[in-house]
Symmetry: C2
Subunit: 225 residues, 2 copies
């Protein structure tokens, strides 16, 4: 429970937050159906805010509302991840380019640098959860520095689904040492204001990560189905 629950947040907002959390945590498993009224009872509110929340989560691609069938939690297939990574590759590369063009000061790049440091520490400690968290921070901050609000929104939307897939891949994939090097190279290009380098390096980084992760998901597809 956060500090504010019934206070400043509306029921609709709580429903969005809670349902999202339940989906990401797997409490609402992929592929399962749930009636609006069940969810309403679970979260202790009426159907109205549940419907509004479901509508929002539907537009984010986390679930699907089907008349008479209830809301279905959408599974994330390897094909889905391929689509998502394709988009992230393009939009994050753009962000890297724009961030390099912007000529940020060392201070303004502190969060980005910090996330790389955290990833290094996590690798050292072989703490994959911590690494994943820092990795997400890096990508999120990179996109923020890119300065395009719509890119930010799209990436945030997709990152929910990436997070779900990561639950599968994180403990199977090789230790992300190479990944950390990639991040450093991109960071350097941004801090040296070299847009084309930042763009291309990040693009390569993403393409490699995508190939690896989709490969893993493909292999384990049968397991999860």
């Amino acid at each position: 429970m956060k500090d504010q629950d019934a206070k400043t947040l509306s029921n609709t907002q709580r429903a969005v937050r809670d349902l999202r959390q339940m989906i990401l945590s797997g409490e609402l498993a992929a592929g399962t159906d749930h009636l609006e009224s069940e969810l309403a009872e679970t979260l202790g509110m009426s159907r109205t805010p549940i419907r509004e929340a479901a509508l929002m989560l539907e537009s984010k691609g986390l679930l699907e509302m089907r008349p008479r069938k209830g809301v279905r939690i959408l599974p994330v297939s390897s094909d889905d991840m391929r689509e998502i990574y394709d988009i992230l590759t393009e939009l994050e590369s753009l962000a890297a380019q724009r961030a390099a063009e912007a000529g940020y000061s060392e201070d303004e790049l502190a969060v980005l640098a910090g996330s790389i440091a955290k990833m290094d520490q996590a690798i050292e400690a072989e703490d994959l959860e911590a690494w994943a968290e820092a990795d997400e921070l890096f990508h999120q901050e990179l996109v923020r520095l890119g300065g395009n609000k719509r890119v930010e929104a799209i990436v945030a939307m997709m990152s929910d689904q990436v997070r779900r897939a990561r639950a599968t891949t994180l403990f199977i994939r090789p230790l992300p040492v190479k990944s950390n090097e990639d991040h450093r190279v991109v960071f350097q290009a941004i801090s040296e204001s070299r847009p084309d380098v930042a763009r291309e390096r990040h693009r390569e980084h993403r393409l490699q990560a995508q190939a690896m992760l989709c490969g893993i998901l493909e292999k384990h597809r049968l397991t999860s189905l």
Copy 2:
């Protein structure tokens, strides 16, 4: 009125369609506020479907719901268009690449070829409306051929806003002769299965179009405000 109105479409769906249309046509002008109850009365339904529709259109960036202020129709600034075109540049270039990789047959490329033909005719006849329509078809079909459903969804979402901006630029911009040549080059690269060429040519095409259109919007910013 389409063939089906009260028949197969729910009120929520009608509200989405009608509100979207009213925004695109300018009937609901950018920057204006409207109470949920007003809109409900206008469309002859209760607030519930209006709210659900507004929620969807909000996620598409056409409007904003603000407590006690009503729903605000969001204006499209030149900054907005810069953001949108940046995204379209990246995602459509990806689509062009993927379309070229897919190795479509002549038949499968018929719609794309047709849209180019229509643009040529429109230029000939100096019919800018027809040209815009064909141009939109080209980009839409290109993205479809790219085979990424999420890209399709994002582009469709943004194209609503592009359409609103076009109302400003269409009759000011130079006759899009160069644009047609660009399209032909991209088409050829796709039909010859040359992904890198398709990607780069389309990218250049988009960057030029963006620079031109944002320039126009920038100039006429004062007029519209």
